[in-house]
Symmetry: C2
Subunit: 391 residues, 2 copies
């Protein structure tokens, strides 16, 4: 009998260029007693050709063979409906599945008796979970890339330049939200020579912002903006409106605005109003990392598009920037996945133990049930509704 196998899917979502495992990480997976099967072309968009995988010890196979033979299926995002439907009972699916956004899909996977493991459920404050923290590794890339995208769209210099013919003033960059992505953006913009200001509703962020060379912006935010697990909590509508009003004066004094405010599984706060963007100078750039199907941080933003407003402001809806830096993003993600596999796998098999703090966070479905409390809670009222209807 051949050893149990891990399969690496080719991502099919629009614009997704990442791959869940990269050649340099394959040895760490085979060391766990697992064969590695890679779908043909899976790494191509991330600049990992098929032969790099075979050289590293993987077998390149069709999607059908992969789904038939892999006990563990690795993905970056939630696979398409057809692929999900092909999964069979007992298979383990690992990815950034966004269970809070798609509880219905999780319920379906539970019915198929698939074990769904989602890296975005990881308890991020747990230090032994850090090597598995894909949200951190991907947010770090998003923050860096947001600055690179902004610098490329911006028609002036980032750094101060003093020449015989005169001085070019440095770009003034505003970063909203100082989580992993925000801090990465602050550091990168500062490196490139911009003057950086930043804001976060969590008072603890002030020290981190200042340590990266940015100024902390005083704004009339909520008294206490910290939530659970190191995240900002969701603001009330009134708090959000007060913050947005304050920013209407602040935003137009900046050349570049990068917004990174997200609350897990909820609509991102709307921080930059249409009026604020309309008051910006021509040539200014706004990059909205919160842009996605649930909304975004910037009123005029269109997800996955780059628009130019009537007053000449470029607004980039950048909900998936890690996909635009796919080699680094895939490598970091693959390392996170390998660390998680090392935690889950014993003697070549995934051993589920929901009393383990990490597993309690990441294991969404198992044994025919939606077992993760946060996802189950979203499904509970619906189950109730269904009962009411049938009653």
């Amino acid at each position: 009998m051949s050893p149990p196998a891990v399969g690496v899917l080719r991502e099919t979502a629009a614009g997704e260029r990442r791959v869940a495992l990269v050649p340099e990480v394959i040895a760490r997976v085979t060391a766990l007693g697992l064969d590695v099967l890679v779908e043909k072309g899976a790494g191509q968009a991330a600049w990992f050709p098929d032969n790099a995988f075979t050289t590293a010890g993987a077998a390149v196979v069709s999607r059908r063979d992969l789904l038939e033979n892999a006990g563990i299926v690795l993905a970056v995002g939630l696979p398409d409906a057809e692929t999900l439907a092909s999964l069979h009972g007992g298979q383990v699916l690992i990815g950034l599945l966004g269970p809070l956004l798609r509880p219905d899909v999780m319920a379906q996977l539970a019915r198929q008796r698939v074990t769904a493991v989602s890296l975005d459920g990881l308890p991020r404050t747990l230090s032994r979970a850090q090597p598995m923290d894909a949200l951190t590794s991907q947010s770090n890339i998003a923050g860096y890339k947001a600055v690179v995208v902004a610098a490329d769209a911006y028609p002036r210099y980032f750094p101060l330049l003093i020449t015989a013919a005169g001085t070019a003033r440095p770009a003034e960059v505003l970063v909203l939200g100082a989580g992993v992505a925000g801090l990465s953006a602050i550091g990168t913009a500062h490196r490139l020579g911009a003057v950086v200001r930043a804001y976060d509703v969590r008072p603890t962020a002030r020290g981190e912002i200042e340590s990266l060379g940015a100024a902390y912006l005083e704004l009339p935010g909520p008294e206490q903006g910290a939530g659970q697990g190191g995240y900002a909590r969701a603001l009330t509508d009134e708090e959000e409106a007060r913050l947005r009003d304050a920013l209407t004066d602040v935003v137009p004094r900046h050349d570049i605005v990068i917004t990174t405010a997200q609350v897990p599984g909820r609509r991102p706060p709307l921080l930059v109003s249409e009026r604020a963007v309309a008051a910006m100078r021509p040539g200014s750039v706004v990059v909205d990392l919160g842009a996605g199907p649930m909304g975004g941080n910037v009123a005029v933003c269109v997800p996955d598009e780059r628009i130019v407003t009537a007053n000449g402001v470029t607004v980039v809806g950048a909900g998936n920037l890690p996909a635009a830096m796919p080699t680094a993003a895939s490598t970091a993600y693959a390392r996170n996945v390998a660390a998680l596999l090392a935690h889950l796998v014993t003697d070549g098999e995934v051993v589920i133990d929901l009393t383990d703090e990490i597993q309690a966070g990441v294991v969404i479905t198992h044994g025919g049930e939606v077992v993760q409390p946060a996802t189950a809670a979203l499904l509970a009222p619906r189950a109730q509704e269904a009962e009411e209807v049938s009653a």
Copy 2:
């Protein structure tokens, strides 16, 4: 009688987004006793709307009115043939006209009795000419922007990143040519955290390269590569081939290669062979600032295009990067033009004096003659041929 006027043309070349004068510089021109006429829409692509010019004291006019009423016509690049044909005797045309590339056009302007003044003729080693040095201001932008473009095309991080999940190595950047553009690229790549190596055929460049944090690359270049006016001299075919051979081993060890080797009015040296690019790793990026109608520094490069080779290398033909950062580029250029106007204009009139060292360089045609020696020298053999034919 209205005072003499300066007219600012709207650029019409493909991809050209700059404008020769910007609102903040208009006061410096009117202080010379000149009115400023701006062609409608001239600043739009550089994010300077027409109303910004009128607010600054200029009049926005049609191209026809401009050509009829402006004694001095300002452009960035050489205007199109129709515009040139509309110029009348006594008019002064100022721009980066590239006289060595188009001596025939200069001869035509001389026949029209237009005074053509080209900023690329400036004696760059003269310290009092530095405020007028448009080649420097634009090359500085090209070098900075080359790094921004490369960082955006590159699928990994520039800086070293150490995380709980592992380390991302810094990008290794190679800069060929350490003139203004090369030094600007070196400084920017170093700022962003890359490991930078650079080479220049002028031995004096070593100190400048090292002072910006890059390593100087030892290559079997010519014994003495410095030419006139601070430029590198043109290499012999043999020297160029030896350098290209040496680079075939060096180039593939880098993730990013930025080439900046140019020799005024001549074919740029071919430094990076097809074999060198074919040996680079997938995801690598090459930016060729030398790419243009006369060739480029990189064998597979296509001017003004971004191609991806069969082995996954992005090659950017970036002959006019200042146009891609048009607000900064126009502002710097406008300051250079204003400094030149201050030098040329007395009592609202351009006063030509070819005994002046600056004017001897920049004044290409005057009084019906091609007066700049370098341009005239290119026309001389043709004149001789014409005589031979008619004889």
